[in-house]
Amino acid sequence: MQKFKTCLKLFLVMFKIGLFTFGGGYAMIGLLENELVSRRKWLESDEFLNVVAIAESTPGPVAINAATYVGYKLAGFWGSLSATVAVALPSFSIIFLISLFFDAFLSLKYVAYAFDGIRVCVIFLILSAGVKMLLKLEKTVWNIVVTSVVIAVMVALSVLSIAFSSVWYILITAGLALLLYLFSYFCARRKKSSEQKPDAEGKQ
């Protein structure tokens, strides 16, 4: 019974968060912090930072990830289910309703004119999101090389209209990063063990 109550509370809080977060996941983090840490004390501040780190580095929308994690923390599987459904439900309902009327809305003359401009704005928004992330990247050799190669290859392929899924870029760089890590790991180990050997001999 207690658990059911927690689930219900989780549902209501997450529904509210889902309803009021414009502009995607990062805007939601502030709201989540306010609800979960400051007001309800469901999570410690450290724990919350941990949740954010996990939500940001795993695939999928940050909002969904954070809701699932917090839900599980507070009330196990059912908690995570109700939190996740609740955070997605407002956008789902709103967008579904809009989608029913969108075509009719667009067939109005001035709305169509407005969307002429809005489409240009969306390209700018995507570009500036990319630039913002670019500025946050550390200037390491890996980051610079990978970013420029991905941009060059992707633009070139799309100009030549050759289909190559974005999934491959992600998988290939993930594989390369893993190989690089393993390589440096084993190099470090070998170096360590070769340094230890003369030491051990010296003691004998």
């Binding site: 929308p61 579904f96 407005a114 401009g117 240009v120 991905v150 893993l178």
Partner: protein, 190 residues
């Protein structure tokens, strides 16, 4: 079986989209263009709607595309598809491997793909920009320069950048969308 296709497509998108929000834009764009679900124009309209309504961009896009292709059930299957990978992965992390992120190998792979995500977003934006402003799609195809679109782009970029420089704050994306809508009406009427 459109429901299954929608579900599996968005399952894939949910599983590999790192970096939140715009991180999945390149993949969604490829998918909808390949399946001829949307034109580039419709896709951009959808992003504008997804950006100006509450909730995660990915969920909004999934619902919208699902609904446009196969009604309510389409919206439901697409949204479930895009949410499911995060749900399962986070459950596994929360329940079993709390320290997953502390392993050096996981860390290096995660930070290793970060520049890829940035590259994908920038390349998609550049491709869209060239297509929209110069009407250029691929080598050999004829292209037409759209002065009005370039003008709107420059005004919006100037407003956003100046706002950032002088007010030290981000110009709200929703206000930018409204402004560009006004400009769109203006250039079409004049």
């Amino acid at each position: 079986m459109i429901y299954l296709t929608l579900f599996l497509t968005f399952l894939k998108i949910g599983a590999v989209s790192f970096g939140g929000g715009y991180g999945m834009i390149s993949l969604i764009r490829e998918t909808v263009l390949e399946n001829a679900w949307l034109t580039e124009e419709e896709f951009l309209n959808f992003i504008a709607v997804a950006e100006s309504t509450p909730g995660p961009l990915a969920v909004n896009m999934a619902t919208f595309i699902g609904s446009s292709q196969a009604g309510f059930l389409g919206a439901l299957t697409a949204t479930l598809g895009v949410i499911l990978p995060s749900f399962v992965i986070i459950l596994i992390i929360a329940a079993l491997i709390k320290n997953l992120l502390k392993y050096a190998g996981v860390q290096s792979v995660l930070s290793g793909i970060r520049p890829t995500i940035v590259g994908l977003i920038l390349a998609t934006a550049l491709t869209m920009f060239v297509t929209r402003i110069f009407g250029f799609t691929s080598v050999g195809a004829p292209f037409s320069f759209d002065r009005r679109a370039l003008l709107i782009f420059l005004i919006i970029a100037a407003v956003a950048v100046l706002w950032r420089v002088f007010k030290k704050r981000q110009f709200s994306p929703i206000l930018l969308i409204l402004l560009s809508g006004g400009l769109g009406i203006l250039v079409n009427v004049v």
